[in-house]
């Protein structure tokens, strides 16, 4: 946690009366902000407004679309595609949890135990980014293909019986099942979990561990009471960086899934590019955004962190 003053700070600090700096100097911060603000305006705010207007339009590609304030599109889109929405949140949530379970021990190892291997391990975490996202996801098609080494091994261990029973896989197949999609999501977003976790853990003063152990805390208690609470900023930002893009992802479901594992990203993509029903696609985008925003707000409130990373 940072050392910035929090709400409990004693009394308001009285600002000394400062002489006003010359106008030119006062404008410098605004000039520095300008490129960023322009970028945000052109590539975020304007498209957002454009999408918002699209979502309340009616018409067809041939006749052209008109803004008719047709909010019914939202209701229709939600009624028709809520299973995909729910599935997206479920898959993204599961992948985020898996990322946390896989990433935390690794980040912990790199931060506290790796010694001179630390930099090498960090490079290895980022190394997959040197290959295209698509190629890596396609590679998982081979990894999870029928009769591949992994699937055979899972079969031999009868683990697929369990996952089939849970509905994650189908028979002796892994590809084109929910598990394949979640595996792909987990794999692709793992570095986004590890890096914030690592930064957060790495900043923890090792002497705090010693102090905790000196004060009768066993290693497990030290982790529970000191290390984990202090790594919360990393946990929060890592889960956000994983969950938000994962919930809108469509590549993993497209390449590793089947028609039964379509996520909301796939629906939006096909509405935009194949069905050419722009209003429905835009409305679905906004519904997803609203849900994610709501969940994130509740989550941050619960996690109680004021500073991310």
């Amino acid at each position: 946690m940072s050392t910035t003053l929090t709400k409990e700070a004693p009394g308001p600090v009285e600002e000394p009366i400062l002489r006003k700096p010359p106008t030119r100097k006062r404008l410098v911060p605004y000039w520095l902000l300008l490129p960023g603000i322009l970028w945000l305006l052109v590539f975020f705010a304007l498209p957002l407004v454009y999408q918002a207007s699209t979502s309340v339009q009616t018409g067809s590609l041939e006749e052209g679309f008109q803004v008719t304030w047709h909010f019914q599109t939202y209701v229709d889109a939600f009624t028709e595609y809520w299973p995909q929405l729910l599935r997206s949140l479920l898959y993204a949530g599961t992948a985020t949890l898996l990322c946390l379970l896989l990433g935390y021990p690794l980040a912990y190892l790199i931060a506290f135990k790796a010694g001179r291997w630390r930099n090498l391990l960090l490079v290895l975490v980022i190394a997959p980014f040197f290959t295209s996202f698509l190629i890596r996801t396609l590679a998982w098609k081979t990894i999870l293909a029928d009769d591949s080494l992994v699937v055979d091994a899972l079969n031999a261990l009868h683990l697929l019986d369990v996952t089939s029973w849970l509905g994650w896989t189908e028979g002796e197949r892994v590809l084109a099942t929910p598990m394949a999609v979640v595996c792909g999501l987990t794999y692709n977003f793992l570095p986004f979990m590890i890096l914030p976790l690592y930064t957060s853990l790495e900043r923890i003063d090792g002497r705090l561990h010693e102090a905790a152990q000196d004060l009768y805390a066993s290693p497990a208690t030290t982790f529970r009471k000191v290390t984990f609470p202090l790594s919360m900023p990393g946990v929060v930002s890592g889960t956000l960086l994983t969950f938000i893009p994962a919930s809108g992802d469509y590549v993993n479901a497209e390449l590793l899934g089947s028609t039964d594992t379509k996520m909301i990203g796939n629906v939006i993509q096909s509405q935009f590019l194949r069905v050419l029903d722009y209003p429905t696609a835009a409305a679905l985008s906004f519904i997803l955004m609203a849900i994610v925003l709501l969940m994130v707000t509740v989550y941050i409130r619960k996690a109680g962190t004021e500073d991310l990373v």
């Binding site: 946690m1 050392t3 003053l5 929090t6 409990e8 700070a9 004693p10 003063d205 002497r207 705090l208 010693e210 102090a211 905790a212 152990q213 000196d214 004060l215 009768y216 805390a217 066993s218 208690t221 009471k225 000191v226 609470p229 202090l230």
Partner: protein
């Protein structure tokens, strides 16, 4: 009833620590009596902190055994030792407020109702109004007191202090020294205090172990160490000493005076202030503390009482520091001898360039083995100051 006499002593037997080929602490035996304020004094890298960390269990000794009372704790992990540490950087938990920090140890031992004890402890360190503050909202001195409270609330058998005052400014440090001493007297727990500040060690501790290069050079009460240093390191590290190389003329015997010559003049020192081995060596180092020396102008040499040790020389530097004036005198016996004169009656003739006679009572003279490095421990004092 033996457990009453050694009940809470900390005993280190043959404790050593090596990192690869580097020996941080050579095998040492040390007993810290129960209820005492014990200081481990030395320059950085002398092994004092490593020794402390081995007592805390944060470092595994390479050889040897650690006893707390009659209990062998060598293989106990830190969280099972009845010992608490005040860390140099305080190591307060930044995500907990002050009272949670202080209650940490009690809670870990499953004590549920901690409020009363925490309040008492906050009172003891005079931070009653800061219970709900976070550590970063406190000043260095306050954080330091929280660190002490967090350790003391557990009533450890031994409290270990790892340079706890190092980060404080001089004035606050002096204040905290008295504060810690007061707390120690109040709670009666054994304190082991690591410091590089000889003044701090001498003002606070009942017993001081001076460490150098991973070894204990000398152990004793502060006054004893100061008056009877046994090595040049202790002589130079604790305060300042004038060490003069001399040839033994009369070895004496028992407590009879040893007579030596240095720079053409004769000096005497009590036989019981140097070991037999030293006086038989032919050569020795004559030591005398600067404040024990009186300074007379060469013209007044005749009025100096008989039987005092005399050294003639010339003042090369003098600095007025209020209560005293510090002179640096070059003489045939040795260069840059230090003399501290109380500013009672100042002799205007004692200026740089003046010919003077240094004289002192032979009883204040000690003899050291001449085979040692005469400057051992000198630079470190300047670094620390």
């Amino acid at each position: 009833m033996t457990e009453n006499t050694t009940g809470g002593d900390v005993r280190l037997t043959g404790i050593s620590k090596t990192y690869g080929s580097f020996t941080a602490v050579h095998p040492l035996d040390l007993t810290v009596p129960q209820g005492s304020f014990f200081a481990l004094l030395g320059a950085s890298g002398c092994g004092k902190t490593t020794t402390l960390r081995m007592i805390a269990g944060l470092e595994d000794p390479s050889t040897g055994t650690i006893f707390l009372g009659d209990r062998d704790v060598t293989d106990l992990p830190p969280y099972k030792r009845p010992v608490n540490t005040v860390f140099q950087s305080y190591a307060l938990f930044p995500h907990m407020d002050i009272s949670e920090n202080i209650a940490f140890g009690l809670r870990r031992r499953g004590i549920k109702s901690v409020k009363k004890q925490v309040d008492d402890m906050l009172e003891l360190v005079q931070l009653g109004d800061k219970a709900r503050h976070k550590p970063h909202q406190l000043s260095g001195g306050q954080q330091q007191r929280v660190a002490v409270a967090r350790a003391l609330i557990n009533h450890p058998q031994v409290l270990l202090l790892d340079e706890p005052l190092g980060a404080l400014d001089l004035k606050l440090r002096r204040q905290m020294q008295l504060e810690l001493k007061r707390i120690q007297t109040e709670v009666g727990i054994t304190f082991v205090h690591v410091t590089h500040d000889q003044e701090e060690a001498m003002t606070m501790a009942d017993q001081v172990a001076v460490m150098n290069g991973g070894r204990v050079e000398q152990l004793g009460a502060p006054a004893d160490l100061y008056e009877n240093p046994r090595t040049t390191f202790v002589a130079n590290f604790l305060g300042t000493s004038n060490l003069i190389e001399a040839e033994v003329v009369e070895t004496g015997s028992g407590s009879a005076d040893v007579v030596v010559t240095a720079g053409g003049g004769k000096l005497r020192l009590p036989g019981d202030r140097c070991t037999d081995a030293v006086r038989q060596g032919g050569k020795l180092l004559v030591g005398v503390r600067p404040e024990k020396i009186s300074l007379a102008h060469a013209d007044d040499a005749g009025s100096i009482a008989d039987g005092r040790n005399r050294v003639t020389g010339r003042i090369v530097d003098s600095s007025f520091i209020g209560v005293s004036t510090q002179y640096v005198v070059n003489s045939p016996a040795g260069a840059e001898l230090q003399v501290y004169e109380q500013n009672v009656e100042r002799d205007a003739r004692l200026r740089p360039g003046a010919e003077v006679v240094l004289h002192w009572n032979p009883a204040h003279t000690f003899g050291l083995d001449a085979a040692q490095d005469i400057d051992a421990g000198v630079e470190t004092v300047e670094d620390a100051a």
